[in-house]
Amino acid sequence: MKDEFGVIYGINGPILSVSGYDGYKMSEMVLIGEEGLIGEVIGIEAEKSTIQVFEDTSGLRPGAPVFSTGGQLSVSLGPGMIGNIFDGIQRPLKSIEKDSGVFISRGVHVDSLDMDRKWSLQTLASEGDQAFPGMVIAQVKETESIICRIMIPPDIRGVIKSIVPDGSYTLRDAIAVVEVSASAAQEFEPLPDSPSKFELKEIRMVQKWPIRVPRPVDKRKIVDRPLITGQRIIDTLFPIGKGGMAAIPGGFGTGKTMTQHQLAKWSDADIIVYIGCGERGNEMTEVLEDFSELKDPRTKRALMDRTILIANTSNMPVAAREASIYTGIAIAEFYRDMGYHVAIMADSTSRWAEALRELSGRLEEMPAEEGFPAYLASRLSSFYERAGSVTTLSGADASVTIIGAVSPQGADFSEPVTQNTKRFVRVFWALDRSLAYARHFPAIQWLTSYSEYLDDMEEWYRDNVGSDFLAHRQSILKILYEESELMEIVKLIGSDVLPDSQRLTLEMARVIRLGFVQQNAYHMFDTYVPFAKQLKMMEIILHLNETCWKLVKLGISMNVLKSEDIFERVIAIKYNVGNDDLDKLEGYISDIDDFYGRLYEKNA
């Protein structure tokens, strides 16, 4: 369609105004100038269309052609994505490096996926089978841990006319032909290249999908089981479900990225999509280096074997930053459709919102709060709503979990991005500056954070963990809440004058804060703690609490209690008991009983 083009009329940063052609469609992808920079149509008027460009516009001149491509901005979905690192519009950064060296040049055209690589394909369907959207017809082993299932695209339904035998094929090869039946096109929103009636359609291992359109599912389900992350404060106190959505807001230096890294490393999702949206280049390098070396605690494979990285660092073009979030979620939905549990880390959604603001400003739109466009809330909600626990078109159980970091301006949670995000997420992990200053990590503030999934997942906890899990969790939180109230008094008069019962609460809260809530990401085994150990630790702490209460009620003073080192020993459990020898934990219960016996005899 190279003959259909308009010409540039005006240029303002990444925004172009184009005249001379009125055949553009909204959200259509366009190629600009002889270099073929990639852009997207974002506004159409009779005379002029508005286009945002995903690359640097320096040197562009009025009169340069803007070619229509007919298709929407899309991602190529197929094997070869895992372990790779892409920019915001799914160009592999390694190929860009080969093409243009250390610095990223403009107008680089590289295939999103390696089209020449041979994949060893195993077919699962045969000639004459009914083909329906989402049906798995073949599979390839994409990495050591992930099998990529080849599916019928969501807009095709019919009969398999032919299918290739097992063997090795590239992404260019057609692996099956489907005779499309009439009803298919009506079932879903027709896509630009949707097939017409009774057409023969070739199926390849790769399919294109427009990034701004959610991929269809059979139905949404309730989020009924947690995403296990190995982080105590998350798993035990503020859990997130598989298919849930969470926000991590925090000022700079409070550990947003660190928390995201920890979740990406240790959570029990099958696939991680990590979007570095407008963040630091070195951080992406760190993820790349670390994840290649680290092993998944469950599969013992390299973490990179289940991770896809999307890096649009803060100095890369702003329009591509806006697109990167959608690119990431489209990829996540593709793997979800195969029946995987996928988790997306978006770091940071504020940069994405700021990209919206910047583009909106260039378009001279009327700003709402703090210069953000009025459609900020609806864009945020349509992103977060793409998360969910679902039954896929092929009937599998799968989910997409979204965990978005938010970087509030001036660490002020009342700003528009945090507030609007809070409306759409169900887990809120508020990072606190004063905890971070004291190097208490993860700096998730237990008083302001919440999780709305507990009720939905109650059954799962009862069946898989034990009936008293939720009660224990509540007791732990209660001690922490009581501490915060007592601290108001302590700030005024000091802790020495409090009665022993209150001093005990303070002491127990200290044990919980240091021994349980705080977790060392750099420690060999404290970085990931299995759920069983978390539970046991919680039980030990509560057992210690009960024992001390009995002693205090007998009139034994706090000073006597503190003369023993039992508190310090419970705090040190996290470092002294490995994740594999949970038997050692039983010893602590009997130690606490001994401690009680000793004091009881001596003092009562």
Partner: protein, 447 residues
């Protein structure tokens, strides 16, 4: 605003001749049909609707580069102003630079010893890092930056392959002169390239100054294999220049009148630090910014903190106690520190020690608040020890002479000495075997 322009290119440089004599440079910032908006670098004085001739060069803003730039002084857009003539250019580079491909970066891990305990011990500088100094007017940030330059590498004799690129944006003449004298005194002037846009120089030029400086730094680092320390001062003036230009173009402001793209603009500067694969050198940045009204939530420090890899925060109340450098260690942070210290880099006990100092010092401020209510005499014994620990840390650890260069093991030892004031049971961030090896009780009178 020009009309009737044939075929202009976005971002190209234009030359403007006034009355056939003086010439100024400008840059195309917006195109609409045959109309063009131009930003004039040296101010629009003397320009009128009739007396100017404008020539489009067809090229983006470039500077001339060669190794000769070391030891020279340039204006804000890279023209020599030291009277030593033009640079014999080996190449010309677009000052806007290009983004480094994240896969081509090497994650920075090499510790740079600065000889300043508060930095080496608690917010370690790493080669290839961008670590800004958040300061306020009247605080000794210039002295600190000068000391960093003096001790970071210029000391010790190993000057080979090390150079400084200094960019001044809207700073006072005295400040620029202070840096020049410091470089001269330490004999480093031969290895410094200075880009000066002083407070009374044109505002538009200020936007180009850090870009010119960073282009020079990238050239020296990645092509000539040198380790470059870039000092950018004062980033607040840069942001203000951006705001001034933005509002004169009638753009929609976001917070405090700054344009919505302030984050992207700052990022396009700060992200130019780093180490790349198959290049021998590195670019380390120390931007200095003054927080208006000492407010760390002001957009400039706020956005900077989100981009840079940590920050060193200077605080007025610490300065008033006579502590130099007046670093408030709690909000100060080096994000790359975790991978550049400890076993194999500095000393195995360094990470635990730093963590403990932060945690204990955070507790000190709670106790000080309590003491101000009930009086210091009423504090419990342990709280009194915390007060002692706090003041010792300030007077003996953070505080040091402007010419004092402490080795890393000296800094770590000092940290243990001061922690010794606290009873061992209070040190809950340190592994037991590390405590066995290094902890020793101390009292006030030992200092």
């Amino acid at each position: 605003m020009l009309e009737g322009v044939e075929n202009p290119a976005y971002d190209e440089v234009v030359e403007i001749k006034i009355d056939g004599g003086k010439s100024k440079k400008g840059r195309v910032v917006q195109i609409f049909g045959d109309k063009v908006a131009i930003q004039v670098f040296e101010g629009t004085d003397e320009l009128s609707l009739h007396n100017t001739i404008t020539k489009f060069t067809g090229r983006p803003m470039e500077i001339k580069l060669s190794e000769e730039i070391l030891g020279r002084v340039f204006d804000g857009i890279g023209r020599p102003i030291d009277g030593m003539g033009e640079i014999y250019a080996e190449c010309r580079r677009d000052i806007n630079g290009k983004a480094i491909n994240p896969v081509s970066r090497i994650y920075p891990r090499n510790f740079i010893q600065t000889g300043i305990s508060a930095i080496d011990g608690l917010a370690t500088l790493i080669r290839g890092q961008k670590l800004p100094i958040f300061s306020g007017n009247g605080l000794p940030h210039d002295q600190l930056a000068a000391q960093l330059v003096r001790q970071a590498s210029l000391g010790g004799g190993a000057t080979e392959g090390f150079a400084v690129v200094f960019a001044a944006m809207g700073v006072k003449y005295d400040v620029a002169d202070f840096f020049r004298r410091t470089f001269e005194e330490s004999g480093a002037i031969e290895r410094v390239a200075m880009f000066l846009n002083l407070a009374n120089d044109p505002v538009v030029e200020r936007l180009a100054t850090p870009r010119a400086a960073l282009t020079a730094a990238e050239y020296l680092a990645y092509e000539k294999g040198m380790h470059i320390l870039v000092i950018l001062t004062d980033m607040t003036s840069y942001a203000e220049a951006l705001r001034e230009i933005s509002s004169s173009r009638g753009e929609i402001p976001s917070r405090k009148g700054y344009p919505g793209y302030l984050y992207s603009e700052l990022a396009s500067l700060f992200e130019r630090a780093g180490i790349v694969r198959n290049g021998k050198g590195s670019v380390t940045q120390i931007p200095i910014l003054t927080m208006p009204n000492d407010d760390i939530t002001h957009p400039v420090p706020d956005l900077t903190g989100y981009i840079t890899e940590g920050q060193i925060v200077l605080e007025r109340s610490v300065n008033q106690k006579g502590v130099y450098p007046p670093i408030n260690i709690l909000p100060s942070l080096s994000r790359l520190m975790k991978d550049g210290i400890g076993k194999g880099y500095t000393r195995e006990d360094h990470p635990d020690l730093a963590n403990q100092i932060f945690s204990s010092y955070a507790h000190v401020s709670d106790i000080r608040a309590l003491a101000s209510v009930i009086g210091e005499d009423e504090l419990s014994d342990i709280d009194k020890r915390y007060i002692q620990f706090g003041s010792l840390l300030e007077t003996h650890f953070i505080n040091q002479n402007k010419y004092e260069n402490r080795g890393i093991s000296q800094t770590i030892q000092l940290g243990w000495d001061i922690l010794g004031v606290l009873p061992r049971s209070e040190l809950d961030r340190i592994a037991t075997d590390t405590l066995d090896k290094y902890y020793h009780p101390m009292t006030m009178s030992d200092f």
